[in-house]
């Protein structure tokens, strides 16, 4: 029996369970304590004897995963793969949404027809008021749009008229300038012709 106060630390040391500082302290203590040194030697001999009994080979491989019996069924494997695959989940969600839209599209006309039939069948007073208000609002909106169209057309015509007048004025100015040039040229030709008819008069 080890009576040294460090006997428990010694056992922890034998099983490599001491931290750095405690380990270093015990390693300093060992050469100074014959009891602990003998105890450590004895402990190592005992554990070495125990470890000398080797592990047995397993008689047969664990037949768990490698056996088909334990593997998930094809259906289970499909669903296992399904829930773990984002692309498959995404595709399924898209299909679900498309299906919902299709069903919604197929059912909507029937519901509308029912409402219309109900409205024409009963014709409550409130419904007539609403129809009258809607007609008035539509007529007002149409009139407003027509007025805006007429105003716009008037503006466009006025602008076109102004532009036409400006172009006409510019054309007259250009014609006047051309006439002036022609008159000047005619004057020059007349002077030149009178000189050629009376050449002596020029020298007299």
């Amino acid at each position: 029996m080890n009576t040294c106060e460090r006997s428990e630390a010694l056992r922890d040391y034998a099983f490599d369970e001491l931290n750095g500082a405690d380990r270093a302290a015990l390693e300093r203590h060992l050469p100074t304590c014959a009891t602990c040194e003998a105890e450590l030697h004895s402990l190592r001999l005992t554990t070495a004897t125990l470890r000398s009994i080797p592990d047995r080979e397993i008689p047969q491989r664990i037949a768990f995963v490698s056996d088909k019996v334990f593997e998930p069924s094809p259906v289970a494997r499909f669903f296992q793969g399904f829930w773990t695959s984002p692309s498959r989940l995404g595709f399924a969600s898209a299909c679900l949404i498309a299906g919902a839209l299709l069903v919604s599209g197929l059912h909507r006309p029937t519901e509308i027809r029912t409402v219309v039939q109900t409205a024409t069948g009963t014709t409550p007073a409130g419904t007539q008021d609403v129809s009258g208000q809607i007609d008035a609002a539509v007529a007002k909106a149409v009139a407003q749009v027509r007025a805006e169209d007429a105003k716009l057309t008037q503006n466009v015509l006025a602008a076109a008229e102004i532009k036409h007048q400006e172009e006409h004025k510019a054309l007259l100015v250009a014609m006047q300038e051309s006439m002036d040039v022609m008159q000047k040229r005619m004057g020059a030709y007349t002077s030149l012709a009178s000189l050629e008819i009376n050449p002596n008069g020029a020298g007299q």
């Binding site: 428990e8 554990t47 125990l50 080979e57 768990f64």
Partner: protein, 181 residues
């Protein structure tokens, strides 16, 4: 050790996503250790094999519940411990799970004298002491890992282990003094 831990963590991550082959690799890595742990607890090869099957089946079913893949070893041995004690309780409901050791065969490759002495010394221990010795000496678990496997404080585990080793030191003295062959 670090590389092995990383590889185990990768396999666990893959097994969690439903990769059966990754779990199969884990089984092949750990089956011998689990089997020998159970064999040292029960002393019966057939029981140990059946229990090992159950351990890996439970591990596969619960792999998603494993919080820290680095603690796979203690987690797996915790399952093995529970399975073994569940079997003990079924067979001996009145003994609160005490294991009844079967007569062990001498280990191959070791002198019969040493093998018999070790088996006799192990049989003298209580099941709790024997399990502490197996987990520490044969399986090399740290005290905190043993506490996780056995579900008790480190101080209790140390007490069981060191008491067992004191007993075994005396039992094995005749063979250890002559040296191990």
């Amino acid at each position: 050790m670090i590389l092995r831990a990383v590889e185990d963590a990768d396999l666990i991550a893959s097994a969690r996503k439903g990769n059966v082959e990754a779990f199969n690799h884990l089984v092949s890595r750990w089956e011998k250790r689990v089997y020998n742990y159970l064999l040292r607890l029960t002393g019966r090869p057939e029981d140990s094999l059946d229990l090992s099957q159950d351990v890996f089946l439970k591990a596969y079913q619960n792999i998603r519940k494993l919080d820290d893949p680095a603690r796979y070893g203690p987690w797996l041995f915790r399952i093995a411990h529970n399975e073994a004690y569940s079997m003990f309780r079924k067979r001996h409901p009145d003994t609160s799970g005490d294991a009844e050791m079967a007569e062990r065969e001498p280990a191959p490759g070791v002198s019969p004298e040493v093998s018999i002495a070790v088996n006799a010394a192990m049989d003298r221990l209580t099941p709790e002491q024997r399990e502490a010795v197996v987990l520490k000496v044969h399986e090399g678990f740290k005290f905190d890992e043993m506490a996780e496997i056995l579900g008790c404080p480190v101080s209790t585990i140390k007490s069981r282990l060191y008491t067992a080793l004191d007993l075994m030191k005396a039992e094995l003295a005749p063979v250890t003094n002559r040296g191990i062959r």
